[in-house]
Amino acid sequence: MRNKLAAAIVAACALVLTACSGASPNTAGETQELRIGAISPIASFEPGNFDAGPGSAFIQPVYDTILRNDSEGEPQPSIATEWSYDDSGTELSLTLRDDVTFTDGAKLDAEAVKANLEAAKAGTGETAGQLRFIDTVTVEDPTHLTISLSAVDPSLLTNLGGAAGSLASPEALGTPELATTPVGSGPYVFDAAASQTGVTYAYTRNPDYWNADDFPFDGITITVFNDGNAVTNALRSGQIDFAGISDQAAETLESDRLKVESFPAYTASGVFLFDRNGTIVPALADVRVRQAINMAFDREQIVEQVYAGVGTPTAQSFSESSAAFDPSFEKYEHDVDAAKALLAEAGYADGFTLPMPDLGPIDPKRQAAVTEALTAIGITPQYEPVNGETFISDLLSGKYPAAIFNLNSHRPWDFAQLALLPDSLWNPFHTTDENIVDLVNMAQTQTGEEADATFRELNEYIVDQAWFATLVQPNSVFGVSSAIDVEPRKFSTWPPIWNFTPAS
């Protein structure tokens, strides 16, 4: 009996030791599987209902896009091989490849593209908004179609080269299964049997893919993590090859097995002065007050202490990577005395109280820095408790006159649409400035250098008017296995999967 027990214990130990294969890292030179860690699952695989940020990692393996943006963010041929606008800039003609089939056997032709654009436009996700200027889609023949726009859209081509141009099988469009089981024509096929919604997403190579050379990995797995420590442990133990990490984790993560990469996050981060009409806080209607707030911050120090030195200190909200950005627009030196004098000139020598959402529990360092700076010039932040689930809708409904926040800062046109026009989503008090509207309208029909100059003028005006107290354009930090290389894409928060390669 005793011998049997001992044998059982030995067998169990042997089983455990042989089982210790959980961490089998990719090694340099091998092209096995690309294993990505994500912080949240994709909400839906239906065109028009997914976001264009980190969610792209889930859809790029399975969906071809009409065009494909290169690493500079410029649209290049993909399913559409040629494209051209008419003179008015509102009729876009596309020529499509004729050799692509969806993995369920449906043909990828002009009808399929039309069905996708119409379905995507009817959605409610971020990508649906990117297609809002599309009026009608006309099929000329199986490889030609024309997109008619209600107004010129300078971002349409790049949007068709991103998530908004994703193409699902027309047979799957409109079916409830598409939300969790994508069917596309992309380089990989979604492996439903090896996946679990919200937890793991597995993709295997599409053997019939028309552009297989661009995708060196035999398979892709995306694992969703709920905890930053778990992500770090998975990276360090070789369970995953790529994931976003915190600045703090980055300081200790680099090793023989892991690289730390830092790419622009394409966001403007700081104090958003939403109530420029003075609806809740009358002081904010005075441009001198908003300028004084901008002068209260020591941006260099904040980047060092709050962002671990990773990011660009700036008062500009237009992306540093865009033509609208200009170093000469940095007009707000840290100067507490000058800020106080400006407040006094505006009639607020004794300061005022500024209600803001309380982000202390999730972002204590940034909130502490903001509190210190505002208090130094006599403004008292009054933090109000936040409900995480309703936070965004509260901001959008104009509940808070100001907030510590991040906002996408991609191409100048996109940023203007997002935050500067009277009906922009992130202009919750609908502040109207005719000069801004005129400049945006002017840029809409311009291209090249002409458009760049207009956006520069717009950016300088926004800085002068102190619409925001932007502090930094931060970087996203990623942990990367030494077995792979990755290249970022301009104006994208997450590198596209075709920019992942085995380490050279």
Binding site: L15, V16, L17, T18, A19, C20, S21, G22, A23, A43, T124, G125, E126, A128, G129, P176, A179, T180, Q196, T197, G198, V199, T200, T223, F225, N226, D227, N229, A230, N233, A234, R236, S237, Q239, N387, G388, E389, T390, I392, S393, L396, L425
Partner: protein
């Protein structure tokens, strides 16, 4: 015994009814608008209204409750508002990892805790004092801290076990075992200490009884006295500790699953509660209550089997 079981099952069903009812009305009282959250800030008011109707949120809360309850009685726990997956399917994915961890923790802590308790009660002296010291220390360390240390040392640094994730038994028994060793250890450590202390105390009490001296004076071997008579009589309080251990392990699994990124009931509860996915929250609550009631029932039956006086009390 039949009436004893009937009483316990009836009590369990009543408890289940009360808890899911309270959960339902509490979550409704929070006042979030799931339709708006699901569709996003850019969706039109018409679309949001249509979504509310689709989810049945336009009905009075009492009607929603009755609809949910009548479906639940037939085994239909509804579908997730966010992923549109049936709640039973989600629970089907989430239960095996959690049960693997919790049952593993119960087995490990029961076996090791009992052995340590018996040894401490019979040997006494330094062994006993050592047990009491280490038990106090171990019980003071929270499970999540133990989990983090285990993950860093045994998974990241030594590479002996996977740092994150869960492999099902069906996919690979050896990988399954490897994936639960560290979570089970994290959950079991504090329970080992409490079970050991409980067994030790009960054993010492029983060993002082007259009948033990009588049995020894009749020449029964130490082993027979210890295992057949003393341990059996000391098992009652230890069994109660085990049922408490189960409840602690279920609640501890929320954190341990997070540290090891295990997609179990705790993770499901966390995710669905944070976004107000009512059908999934109710499903998680219902299945957790059923499990707790079931374990208590099993413990009651075991105690009744060991000690017939319990059945009539």
């Amino acid at each position: 015994m039949f009436y004893f079981l009937l009483r316990r099952v009836g009590g369990g069903i009543f408890l289940l009814f009360v808890i899911v009812t309270v959960t339902f009305f509490l979550l409704n009282a929070i006042g979030n608008d799931p339709a708006r959250q699901i569709l996003g800030p850019t969706a039109s008011a018409e679309l949001v209204e249509a979504k509310r109707a689709e989810l049945g949120l336009d009905l009075p809360v009492a009607v929603q409750y009755v609809n949910w309850l009548t479906s639940a009685i037939t085994g239909d726990l509804g579908t997730s508002w966010y992923s549109s997956q049936p709640v039973t399917e989600l629970l089907g994915f989430a239960l095996p990892p959690t049960l693997s961890m919790v049952i593993g923790a119960i087995l490990v802590s029961t076996v090791i805790g009992t052995v340590i308790g018996v040894v401490a009660a019979t040997r006494r002296g330094a062994v006993d004092r050592g047990l009491q010291f280490f038990s106090t220390v171990i019980q003071a360390v929270p499970a999540f801290l133990v989990a983090i240390v285990l993950a860093v040392v045994f998974a990241v640094q030594l590479g002996l076990f996977p740092a994150t994730g869960y492999t099902s038994f069906a996919a690979s028994p050896s990988d399954w075992l490897a994936s639960i060793v560290l979570p089970v250890t994290a959950l079991a450590l504090a329970s080992i200490a409490s079970i050991a202390l409980q067994v030790r105390g009960s054993m010492i009490d029983v060993l002082r009884q007259d009948y033990v001296r009588t049995l020894r004076s009749r020449g029964l071997s130490d082993r027979s006295v210890l295992l057949r008579h003393t341990l059996r009589n000391a098992a009652g309080p230890a069994l109660t500790t085990i049922s408490l251990t189960f409840i602690i392990a279920i609640s501890g699994s929320v954190i341990v699953e997070r540290v090891f990124n295990i997609p179990g009931i705790g993770t499901q509860a966390n995710t669905s509660a944070s976004r107000g996915d009512l059908p999934v929250v109710l499903g998680v609550v219902a299945v957790t209550v059923v499990l707790v009631v079931l374990v208590n029932l099993i413990v009651d039956i075991a105690q009744g089997w060991i000690n017939p006086k319990v059945r009539v009390s």
